[in-house]
């Protein structure tokens, strides 16, 4: 968990060109740039509609994992009710479009706002709590949201769910891909910017040692609230996208199993790395989709993989990347 802090001053400042410093300040690492370029050029290499859908889904889960990591990997508080917030966003976006007959471009920000507000309140609730209790509290909030979605049947039609119109008339899978790509890039830039600012340092300080952070003058309350609100708002924003993309929302999308899915991606990707979850998502979702015919074996492999990663390589893909990068750099320096 501390890895992010340790490895930060990677390159000696004197060798850094201005451009590189600027790029890295915005989080525009080579992996990121190449990834975005590849996705932006998707129509050239992914003509298959299924492949395009797979890209959308991988990006969607990747973005969720990134959002999740913003809390889990930095202030060290796992939001175990994550799926509840995503679902809340999906419901708000849907209701805005369905009941107020506004377009999705109003619905998505509304979803982000509403979820952010609930996230803020959850942050308030978890303030007196420490460690695992924060996770439990957010889990209960998530489950409450799910129970409410089921019980408020006048608004949500309960478990029967709501049918959601497409985001725009005649939008294609590629269209969704571009919308999501813009959303994800914007979220990444925002989150990365915050991580790189003073607030980011404070997050890590709060996450690593609460008492020490207090002693050194960091106001944990403010930062915890800020973090929770932001990450929940992002989750809701993405949830709104999901509702339009899939076309139906039911309380089932708030189930804890989705939190687990996102959490797994985020941790396999590497905690505290933001982009690790995205990479993991682009690796794992297609792999497991292609193993679909294995049915139950597929889930066993999935579970075993999670177990193996946790036992042998808890730093995840990001850790792997860092180790490799370190080794390469040493090589170059020696030469």
């Amino acid at each position: 968990m501390e890895s992010g802090l340790q490895h930060r001053p990677r390159t000696p400042p004197r060798r850094r060109s201005l451009l590189r410093a600027w790029l890295s300040a915005w989080g525009l690492s080579p992996v990121f740039v190449v990834g975005v370029a590849l996705l932006a050029l998707a129509p050239l290499w992914a003509r298959d509609a299924y492949l395009q859908r797979l890209l959308v889904v991988s990006l969607y889960f990747g973005a969720l994992a990134m959002t999740f990591d913003f809390t889990g990997g930095f202030i060290n508080a796992v939001n175990f009710g994550f799926a509840g917030f995503v679902g809340l966003g999906a419901y708000v976006a849907t209701l805005v479009v369905r009941n107020a007959e506004l377009s999705a471009w109003v619905g998505l920000p509304a979803a982000a706002l509403a979820t952010g507000l609930v996230g803020f309140l959850t942050g308030l609730l978890t303030l007196p709590l420490r460690g695992i209790y924060v996770s439990l509290m957010s889990w209960f909030v998530g489950m409450t949201l799910m129970a409410l979605a089921g019980a408020l049947k006048d608004v949500t039609r309960g478990a029967r769910g709501l049918v959601v119109p497409p985001m725009a008339e005649g939008i294609t899978t590629l269209g969704y891909l571009y919308v999501l790509l813009v959303m994800a890039v914007a979220l990444y830039l925002l989150l990365h910017r915050i991580i790189r600012s003073r607030a980011g340092l404070a997050f890590r300080a709060v996450g690593q040692n609460f008492d020490a952070a207090c002693a050194s003058g960091v106001d944990p309350t403010r930062y915890k609230l800020l973090n929770f609100t932001l990450s929940c708002a992002c989750a809701g924003f993405l949830g709104g996208f999901y509702a339009h993309f899939v076309g139906i929302v039911t309380p089932a999308i708030m189930d804890t199993s989705y939190t687990m899915e996102v959490m797994t991606l985020s941790f396999i990707g590497g905690s505290g790395s933001l982009l690790g979850g995205v990479v993991a998502s682009f690796l794992l979702i297609p792999i497991f989709d292609s193993l679909k015919y294995l049915m139950e074996y597929r889930l066993i492999i999935y579970g075993l993989m999670l177990i193996l990663v946790m036992i042998f390589y808890p730093a995840g893909l990001y850790g792997l990347y860092q180790t490799a990068a370190q080794a390469l750099r040493q090589r170059f320096q020696r030469r």
């Binding site: 299924y50 029967r160 769910g161 039911t250 089932a252 679909k292 294995l294 049915m295």
Partner: protein, 427 residues
Amino acid sequence: MKIRWFLFVSILAVLLCGVVACTGQEAAQPTQAPAAETKTLIVGLMAPFTGPSARVGEEFKYSAMMAFDQINWTVGDTRIELVYIDGESDPEKATRAYEAAITRDKMDVGLLNWDASDVIPVMELSAKYKIPHFFAMGTSEDIDAMWLSDAKYSYWMGKGWPTPSKLTINYVNALEDALQRGLWSVPEKNVVLYGNDDEWSRGFSKAIGVQLQAAGWKIVGEEYVPVGETDFYPMLTKIKSLNAPLMAGTMDDAAGFPAMIKQAREVGVTSLIVADGLGWVGEWYDMAGAASDYVIDQIPGWATADAVAFKDAFEARWGIEPSPSSAGLAYDEVGFFIRVLQQTFEDHGALTSETIHETAMAKMFTGELTYTDGILMSEYAFSQESLPDMVVGKGYFVFPVIQYLEGAGITIWPDEIKEQDLQLPPG
């Protein structure tokens, strides 16, 4: 360190063996059937094969295999090949799997499904790719509304299970009939509705609630429990205190439902119980036992000799007890589907998505082409009025209202086929 490597290597080895074994198994299949010159029609069988409703998926798969075995997997000069689309009871995953089946496996036609929430997005895909999809069982009325809203959805070739309200009315009729004939008397027409907190149960309660109210009943309580709950004492204590002569509902939680029935008698609920779908899972009576006596359900029985033969063959071959409403109905509907394919071949001489759609539109939707060789219903048919549902009612798609006694369902409605009148629990 040694342990670490030993463990890592051994687990990895086991994992690899597993993967190799499965892929080997899968890869071996196509070589058995020489795909040389014969034409193939790729049929996508959609069902939840993993996740909580996996049991249904399993029964669908086995029934479909038995139905295709009957025709030796060929229609005319075309060989049928099945690909399995795992909906996982999740709309997003279902859509993805469905699109993969279309673009990757080159599926020509889709068949069956279970979860209603999967149907709406999948219907969109079937319209987009013009892939006809036959007899998906999602019941929700949203599907009807959507189907009727645009002609492009005509590729959704009818629902395999009618909208709940078309079936729930039978209960109301059966009960009203019993009241009128003095077989049953109630101090006040009060009813409690119950169910799982999910799409299916809520839809059922809504449908039967409206119909009961129209017949003069008053809904005095509505209770829902989450799927997975097996201790119903709290819910039943409340229902008991409401003191209604009737409780009606359904649960699709095959573990919880028998437990609920068992506990209803323990808690001392004396109401007549309508438990729609209690008999859906073959093993239900092992779990519910004698407490299920006098409970009312609506389920096709293994009534004919053919049906019993199917049931026995199914059990002998697959080792699970088939339920009429999933394995049996799937078997019949796959039979109907085969009938459509045969008709298409007769009319067009070739089986493609387009010809199948055309024939089904021209012959099946008009009611010209029906299916009468089923083991459950005497006739499966569509009509312009019934669409997208099948024709529901006497002689067509009808579930008899039954009352359980010692695990056997005794038909009490409709009049023409009833074996005996409604019986009341003693006391």
